[in-house]
């Protein structure tokens, strides 16, 4: 069989005959038309010879050698299952040769495919091994499997492109948010250790700090001082002294309250009165000075 003949393309020829056994002729007829027109996106007058750039543009219309082979197969109406390797290889090689002539940079994938086709072809041409060999398989099988798989995903991509999608077919509503809507504030987290460290820093820095003996008892007292002040602030009236104590806190709790009262008295934050000796003691927060 002749591999190929480099005859100039015949642009005036119509689409190749499927049943044409003269593959060389078919390639020559099909190529120019196919390259410029066909299913490819190029919009060029039908009777034009391939302009220098067209091949490049044509090449860009394909997603690689598998895509291109699929195109050749469909263009020639070959049945993929009975893929005539001989013919398709010739067409492919013509195409690759043309790209070379045009000095286009050939993508490596196209050359790999060319090599694969040549290999398949050579294996098909070899005398068939009559010995039953389990490992022997049609060398076209792998190519066909790949072509089929590629075709599936080529179609899936086209289907995906046809799905309604945001920005093109699906429009989402935008609404105004009234000023009354205030975002929820997420407060920063504070680790208690940070507070302790901050306090230690203060203590170190303030050398003249007088109350630097920090003990849990003092803390309890000062905390109780806040609690007492707050409680007394709820009323202008005197409250009975004993109501400030909660016996359920036990002895230590009562002592803390007691110390807090003393401290508050010392700081003149509360007033303590006792109308008679051993009489009821009353406490109130110190009233604001009246003008």
């Amino acid at each position: 069989m002749t591999e190929s003949q480099s005859t100039p393309p015949l642009p005036e020829q119509p689409v190749a005959d499927v049943n044409n056994n003269d593959t060389t002729q078919m390639v020559q007829q099909a190529l120019p038309l196919a390259f410029v027109r066909g299913e490819a996106v190029i919009d060029k007058p039908e009777d034009l010879f391939i302009p220098p750039d067209a091949l490049e543009i044509f090449l860009e219309a394909f997603e690689g050698p598998l895509d291109f082979l699929l195109y050749l197969i469909k263009k020639q109406k070959f049945n993929i299952v009975d893929l005539p390797i001989q013919e398709i290889t010739l067409q492919y090689m013509e195409y690759v040769d043309l790209m070379r002539e045009m000095k286009l940079e050939l993508a490596a994938e196209y050359l790999v495919m060319a090599a694969m086709l040549a290999e398949i072809k050579s294996r098909l041409l070899l005398p068939r091994n009559n010995v039953e060999d389990d490992d022997e398989e049609d060398p076209r099988a792998e190519l066909i499997r790949r072509l089929q798989e590629y075709e599936i995903f080529k179609q899936a991509a086209a289907d995906l492109d046809n799905l309604p999608r945001i920005e093109r077919d699906t429009f989402l509503p935008h609404i105004d948010i009234p000023d009354t809507v205030q975002p929820e504030v997420i407060h920063p987290d504070v680790d208690f250790q940070e507070l302790v460290v901050a306090f230690q820093v203060i203590l170190k820095r303030a050398k003249a700090f007088t109350h630097h003996e920090i003990t849990p008892e003092v803390l309890s007292t000062r905390e109780r001082m806040s609690q007492l002040l707050e409680r007394l602030a709820q009323t202008k009236d005197f409250v009975p002294f004993q109501t400030l104590f909660d016996v359920t806190e036990g002895k230590s709790g009562v002592v803390v309250t007691f110390l807090a009262v003393l401290e508050l008295v010392k700081e003149t934050l509360i007033e303590v009165i006792q109308t008679a000796a051993y009489g009821q003691i009353h406490v109130r927060s110190k009233p604001a000075e009246v003008e």
């Binding site: 105004d176 997420i186 003691i281 000075e289």
Partner: protein, 204 residues
Amino acid sequence: MSTINDAQLKQLIEASIFSADKPMSIDKLKTTVLAGIKVSNTKIKQILIDIEFDYSDRGVNLIKVASGYRFQAADHLGEMLGKMWQERPPKYSRALLETLALIAFKQPITRGEIENVRGVSVSSNIMRTLIERGWVKAVGHKEVPGRPSLYGTTNEFLDYFSLSSLSELPELIEPESLDLIAKKLESEFMGVSTQEETPKEQQL
């Protein structure tokens, strides 16, 4: 000019106001979605009134602003809807943490006292942040000129740090026992032996 039935026209106007990223004027409607559709301004206005009515009791309302019509979340949902967006203020400053530490450990304390200890003024911002956070509150006034507020920590503060009381601070606990201190203070203030005292007997 193509025609379109009233129901479709209403859907189209409604959808275009919703889809537009700016308010839609009647003019804008006519030059875009309604281009090539024969419809009078009066008709468009009537449809807008219809839509406004349809949405009057919904979660979004049609409102008219200067440059056209717009859908807006219903006003009264304001506060609840705010939870859709979250704002994260920056981490607290060292100044704030020191102020908080002082209030926690030296309460009740005035702002002036905090400033004395820290040696720098305490910004109103810090006090406001602490109060808004619910960790600090004014618990009274100090009876000195100006009657400055005395600040203390709140129960929320304790809850946040999982403390049942400020005395639970392990780092600051000194080995002196409560009884010992109580004894010392009692004898100091009361001048009595503490051995047999009961709290009741300690009354002034």
